[in-house]
């Protein structure tokens, strides 16, 4: 079980996240939606430990992560795939995947590579290529494949479908769903109707730093309905 209680985050004097509380069950897929700039990415960064000015309690599988460094949180099972700049540009595709698995056993490192290549075979074809020379979409695939292959207890993914072709969005949606079926909890920020319908059991709506509603994917019968909610036009 992953739990966030009364999370606050600040950028300078700006109070961006204003007391968020949310839960993600074991093997559950949960979405976080809202307009640009309402604090979704800041919420994920705060949970990952990347922001210095935060308050609140973050608990993962009974361990309180608040106050821990980002790398300690990662070693406790917290995975995070940011929206941008998620790869090491002057390292090969294979090295990019290996970095995260170096804290695991050799057998797990090998399994991690296999899982990532199985998810996106194009990464296997380009395993020796520098990550910085991949297209934007391929870099996104690389970061996602690495995040998924590491099999954390909770994986946070920021805008995984952005910039990807529909066929790859479907692959990601299925991969996230499969991860939840294998017991990984997933917290995803995304506006893709297909991805949300496939990978999420529940969705929180966020506006101006606070959560304003909770939905089930079945509440949306069309992409337009989801977009309207995402844009804050149907907040509960």
């Amino acid at each position: 079980m992953f739990e966030v209680r009364d999370l606050h985050a600040y950028y300078g004097k700006s109070h961006v996240v204003q007391g968020i509380s949310l839960e993600v069950g074991d093997g559950e897929g949960v979405g976080l939606m809202g307009r640009n700039g309402v604090g979704k990415t800041t919420t994920l960064k705060s949970i990952a430990g990347l922001l210095t000015r935060t308050q609140g309690t973050v608990t993962l599988a009974g361990t309180v992560l608040s106050g821990m460094s980002p790398h300690t949180r990662a070693r406790r099972g917290l995975g995070y795939v940011p929206e941008a700049q998620a790869v090491f540009p002057e390292m090969s595709v294979e090295e990019n995947i290996r970095i995260g698995s170096l804290i695991q056993s050799r057998a797990d490192q090998s399994r991690c590579l296999d899982l990532a290549y199985e998810l996106f075979p194009i990464l296997s074809e380009r395993r020796r290529q520098m990550a910085g020379t991949l297209s934007g979409g391929q870099q996104k695939m690389l970061a996602l494949a690495r995040g998924l292959a590491l099999r954390p207890k909770l994986l946070m993914v920021d805008e995984p479908s952005e910039g990807l072709m529909p066929v790859n969005v479907e692959v990601i949606a299925q991969a996230l769903k499969k991860a939840t079926q294998e017991g990984v909890s997933v917290l995803v920020v995304d506006a893709s109707f297909d991805l949300v319908r496939t990978a999420c059991n529940r969705m929180y709506a966020m506006d101006l730093g606070v959560l304003v509603g909770m939905y089930r994917p079945s509440d949306f019968s069309s992409p337009e309905m989801l977009a309207a909610t995402y844009l804050g036009e149907r907040s509960a």
Partner: protein, 286 residues
């Protein structure tokens, strides 16, 4: 021909030692985005440590290992006590802090050891015939050890777990952290390796040159030139440019006065910077 071969080898001696200091500086800049102005004084202290140990035990290898180890620990302490509290603040504060440390170390060396140059005999006096010249075996060992350490550093960065992590932190610090890379430990390791390399370089060169409190001044100046020319944060680039620097300085002095060679090198660096500033891509890292 004899003169050319002699200066070519001399250039390698200077270049490989300079490469150890400069690649350490480049490593530090790559990982922490800072320049350690005390690196020249770490070189100087490495030379004094060798002088002390050699005087006490007559064991050169022990002296060189001690120079590397003591300076590595000293570098770690410099990071923890002085640099760490300033990380994330204005970079000029770290520059000033390390500059302050370098002045303090220089003054301390002057007070403790005096201003006179300490001269040591190389541990090996034999020469080796290379074609028409006889070259000191010790100088060849300096080249071999310097090159060996640089090669070891290159492979360590490429294949060892912490080496890969050092490169990861240099390229994308926050992403490395969220993947479980212990960033503070990588900082400490980079600082210790950088300082240790300077200590070893100082110890190696001590019997060839001589040791005095301000010996680090020219080393840090040349190292900065090399690091800037090699691409800030580029370990391999700094090593290559340092060797090239040593060769140009050494071989060039056959035909041109050394001061003019130095000026030409400055000009070359300015030209490199101008060319680099026109490139749109970022500088190559580690």
């Amino acid at each position: 021909m004899n003169q050319f071969l002699l200066q070519l080898l001399n250039g390698l001696v200077v270049g490989s030692s300079l490469a150890l200091v400069a690649s350490g500086l480049a490593l530090l800049f790559g990982v922490l985005d800072i320049i350690n102005f005390a690196q020249g004084e770490f070189f100087m202290l490495g030379a004094y440590i060798l002088w002390i140990i050699l005087g006490a035990t007559h064991n050169y290898v022990l002296g060189l290992i001690a120079a590397g180890l003591v300076l590595a620990i000293g570098g770690g302490l410099l990071l923890l006590v002085i640099t760490w509290p300033l990380l994330g603040k204005a970079q000029v504060l770290i520059l000033l802090a390390t500059l302050g440390v370098s002045l303090i170390l220089q003054q301390l060396a002057l007070n403790i050891f005096g201003g006179d140059a300490k001269i040591m005999e190389p541990p090996i006096a034999e020469g080796v015939d290379i074609g028409p010249i006889t070259y000191p075996l010790y100088d060849l060992i300096i080249i071999a050890v310097g090159m060996g350490l640089l090669l070891a550093g290159f492979f360590w960065l490429r294949y060892a777990k912490y080496g890969v992590w050092v490169r990861a932190v240099a390229q994308n610090r926050s992403m490395a952290a969220v993947l479980g890379v212990p960033v503070p430990r990588v900082y400490l390791l980079a600082f210790m390796i950088s300082s240790g390399l300077a200590g070893i370089a100082g110890g190696m060169l001590a019997p060839v040159t001589s040791v005095f409190p301000s010996i680090g001044g020219s080393i840090i100046l040349n190292s900065l030139i090399v690091v800037v020319a090699g691409g800030l944060g580029n370990f391999r680039g700094a090593a290559w440019i340092a060797i090239l620097f040593g060769e140009i300085q050494s071989v060039g002095s056959i035909w041109i006065p050394p001061v003019v060679v130095q000026l030409l090198l400055f000009g070359l660096v300015i030209l490199l910077l101008v060319l680099r500033s026109r490139r749109k891509t970022a500088l190559v890292r580690l």
